[in-house]
Amino acid sequence: MHPVNPVYWLFCLLFGVFAASAAEPPRPSPLKSGIEFASEDLRKLQADDFANPGMLWVARGEKLWNEPAGKTGKSCAACHGAARQSMKGVATRYPRIDPGAARLVNLEGRINLCRARNQDAEPLEHESEELLALTAYVAHQSRGLPLDVAVDWQNRRNFERGRELYHTRIGQMNLSCSQCHDRNWGKQLLAETISQGHGNAYPAYRLEWQTMGSLARRIRACFYGVRAGLPDYGAPELLDLELYLAWRGKGLAIETPGVRR
């Protein structure tokens, strides 16, 4: 009979306590949209549906929605009718696995898949006026609705990869997303307040860009910020990260078109 080794059990106890305390909370609490860290001017600008520059893209998106496209000459409206009804809630569920393509797609990717399948139209280029406009228009139909992406057996691996990347130190500055946006949100970085890094307002108009941009563009800008190589638009790691962000921001209302610095 082996005697119980108290040192061994003490070690296990201490290790367990240490592990439990070192485990970070999976999501920031309380959950705050980027607009809560923005200045009064930005908040007013985003809330003003006329002055909000992003609404110019939403307006363009509405036009494109009703215009014939591709070899079929069908418009989005021909199948989907009024976007206000048919697209309501759609953006809250992206990114998601597209069964036909058998891969993770974000809203931009889904729009291009629809164009190819149902309109026999060329895919719209990343960050093009048209893709931004259509994406903003579709996402705008879910404005006010909470992000509600599902993580299940289909996209679990994408989710895990996204989560891992979120917590991995990258770039010359050797920083992970988590270090700023989980542990230091609310604090000042030079003249700016660090937000929690959610994507609920995208596509958004950034004053710095002087135009509308996608969440992918914003994430790439963050990679640039830590001096890491920028992932290509449409790269799997960017999509996995978008999925993780959508899960992480679950419950936050969509604000598209958002206005940010």
Binding site: F50, A51, P53, M55, L56, W57, A59, R60, K63, Y205, Q210, T211
Partner: protein
């Protein structure tokens, strides 16, 4: 050129109306460079005119000091029913035009 205008559908004679216009335009300063280091040519909306039943009531002469996707808000005295028309032109000669009907009651 895509633009959105905000003009009240109805107003009382003598009322001061809030008029707004937002135009999708980069208002390129001429000081920026593309990804290949080539300068991007200056191109801004240099003139924007508002006409009320044909008469010019507001004119903006703008430069690169006006932010991209310009938004202007000004005021007009409601006089007679008819049309409020905006027209603008940029440095490269592209023109834009938008109009709205207005009903003025006594």
């Amino acid at each position: 050129m895509l633009a959105r205008i905000s003009v009240p559908e109805q107003a009382r004679r003598g009322e001061v109306m809030e008029i707004r216009i937002a135009v999708r335009h980069p208002m390129e300063t001429g000081f920026r460079y593309d990804n290949f280091g080539r300068p991007i040519a200056k191109n801004v909306i240099n003139t924007l005119v508002c006409r009320y039943n044909g008469a010019e009531v507001f004119r903006a002469e703008m430069g690169s000091g006006i932010a991209a996707n310009p938004h202007l808000q000004f005021y007009l005295l409601a006089e007679a029913s008819g049309e409020i028309e905006f027209s603008w032109v940029d440095d490269s000669g592209n023109r834009g035009r938008q109009r709205a009907a207005i009903t003025v009651t006594d």
